[in-house]
């Protein structure tokens, strides 16, 4: 039972199935009680009319009905009967009873009684009786009426009630289903919000949602914020560490120049090499931190907005060389990839290009389904063989230029995460290295590959 709709329907059906029979039972009881009360009081009046009509004649003790009695007591099996039981046990019945007898109970003087009896032609009778004394005779007068018409009405009422109850149940279920569907439709906006969030169009889910879902949305937004904070904190942490290590490292460099090491030039050279490596690694981390900047997780890379900023950062890093960095983004290029990943990818390749370029670096982004990124420089470039070598991790073609081969390796890793393609070749326009990357903008990083290795 994992559907809220089913659960609600079950609850409604069960409660109505419990309630309706109770109402049906109570209603039937009330209708029957009302009918029998009415008939009972009429029987009492009839008994009194009969009593006034009875006169006792002569010695045979037979009461005689006068002409004033209702003819209904004369028509055989009419449904209205009376029966008079004298003190000596002799019984005289209405003509309507014909050859049948009424089931008579003994009623004590001053008492009245009411009971059910079966009558002729399968009739059910309500009998009202009282003990009377008139003209010196004591007798019990019982008056009866057929309940069949009342029972027919009651049965009709019961059928109508059952039918209406069933109809009401169906209508309620349909209405409930409509209400539920209408309510859940409002969840679609939350889903649309989540898609926008994934596209990087918004930073948090809209809180204009039904009250019941608001806590969930709020919790989601809080979690989103927390994740963003954690991510930027961990991204900044490496940068901060690198920055903090700079001071002690500079001290170590000064120690290298001390006279005590003059006797060991080889050791000094080795230490200096290692010190330079550490410095470069640190600078790389600092650069990464600067490139990443701020931003939320889940934001997509918007080339139109982000590329100018990235290039500005690179210009500052390489400001001594007065490079001409040109860029071009097709107007309808969609957002693609994770912002952080793309910044690191482009940053690394552009940084590499800036290092090798003499004067000019070109960067262009085009495509819709497939995003094509091309970064060219007018540096020395590479041969076909060298291009193949570049594809291997950590390979460096020239050890003399500042760098340690990690930049391009990281770029290759990111492209691999997105199942993209990276090609190194000779630039036709500028003659230097040309790096072409192809990514599918709908693609997300492969989750298997994201696991720490």
């Amino acid at each position: 039972m994992n559907s809220l709709q089913r659960l609600l329907q079950l609850g409604l059906t069960l409660s109505l199935m419990l309630l309706m029979p109770m109402l049906w039972w109570a209603g039937s009881l009330a209708v029957r009680g009302l009918g029998e009360d009415l008939i009972g009081s009429r029987l009492e009046h009839d008994a009194e009319s009969l009593l006034s009509a009875i006169t006792f004649t002569g010695a045979d003790h037979s009461p005689v009905e006068l002409e004033y009695i209702n003819p209904i007591y004369k028509r055989p099996f009419s449904g209205h009967y009376y029966s008079i039981r004298m003190a000596d046990g002799s019984i005289q019945s209405s003509r309507s009873l014909w050859d049948q007898t009424l089931d008579l109970q003994v009623v004590e003087p001053g008492d009245t009684a009411q009971w059910y009896a079966s009558g002729p032609s399968g009739q059910n009778l309500l009998v009202w009786a009282r003990h009377y004394q008139k003209q010196g005779h004591a007798f019990t007068l019982a008056v009866a009426e057929d309940l069949t018409p009342l029972e027919r009405h009651l049965s009709l009422f019961q059928w109508i009630f059952a039918g209406l109850s069933l109809a009401a149940l169906l209508i309620l279920l349909v209405v409930q289903q409509r209400v539920i569907r209408q309510s859940f439709k409002r969840l679609d906006t939350v889903r649309a919000d989540m898609q926008s969030l994934e596209q990087g169009e918004i930073g948090a889910l809209s809180q204009d949602v039904p009250d019941e879902i608001l806590p969930l949305v709020q919790e989601f937004n809080r979690l989103l914020e927390l994740l963003a904070q954690r991510l930027s904190r961990s991204r900044n942490a490496l940068g901060n560490l690198a920055h903090a290590l700079k001071g002690p490292l500079n001290l170590l460099v000064q120690y290298l120049d001390s006279k005590e090491l003059d006797d060991h030039p080889e050791l000094r050279a080795q230490m200096r090499t290692q010190q330079e490596r550490i410095l470069k690694l640190m600078e790389r981390e600092l650069k990464r931190a600067r490139l990443a900047g701020s931003g939320s997780p889940g934001y997509r890379f918007n080339a139109q907005q982000e590329l100018p900023d990235l290039i500005e950062v690179l210009r500052q890093i390489h400001h001594k060389r007065q490079l001409d960095i040109q860029w071009q983004v097709m107007a309808d290029t969609p957002t693609f990839g994770d912002r952080e990943d793309m910044l690191e990818l482009m940053g690394n390749i552009l940084d590499n290009a800036c290092k090798w370029a003499k004067t000019t670096v070109l960067c262009s982004i085009t495509g819709a389904e497939t995003i094509k990124i091309t970064i060219e420089d007018d540096g020395p470039g590479c041969s076909e063989q060298e291009a193949k070598q570049l594809a291997r991790r950590g390979t460096r073609l020239d050890e003399t230029v500042e760098g340690h081969g990690l930049g391009l390796a990281i770029a290759k890793d990111i492209v691999k995460l997105y199942n993209g393609k990276i090609v190194f070749s000779q630039s036709r326009k500028l003659g230097g290295l040309s790096v072409t990357i192809e990514l599918w903008h709908i693609n997300q990083p492969d989750k298997e590959q994201l696991k720490p290795q």
Partner: protein, 100 residues
């Protein structure tokens, strides 16, 4: 006033006599049913319901040409009043006619 004093009992007696002729037939029928020489009215009415369904208006029990008969007056669904005569001993329909 004197006339009225005689007239009332006479009228009452006359009424009783005329009524008792029709009103007492059930007593005779009851006695005969009890000794088992005729069929009870309930059985006759069951046959009427098959032969000629309708609403029973009146039943009379008479001795006709040495034969006990139930004379049943009823109105059918179309509102036509019928008079049926049944042999009280055998329960056979003797006569059936529209009441004119």
């Amino acid at each position: 006033m004197n006339k009225l004093r005689y007239a009332l009992p006479t009228l009452a007696l006359a009424c009783w006599c005329s009524l008792s002729a029709a009103d007492d037939d059930h007593l005779k029928a009851r006695a005969l049913v009890e000794v088992g020489s005729i069929l009870p009215l309930e059985q006759i009415l069951k046959r009427v319901a098959i032969d000629h369904p309708g609403h029973i208006l009146e039943v009379e029990f008479e001795l006709e040409r040495g034969q006990y008969v139930y004379e049943i007056e009823l109105v059918d669904k179309k509102g036509v009043v019928w008079e049926l005569e049944y042999d009280a001993e055998s329960g056979q329909l003797i006569e059936k006619e529209r009441e004119e």
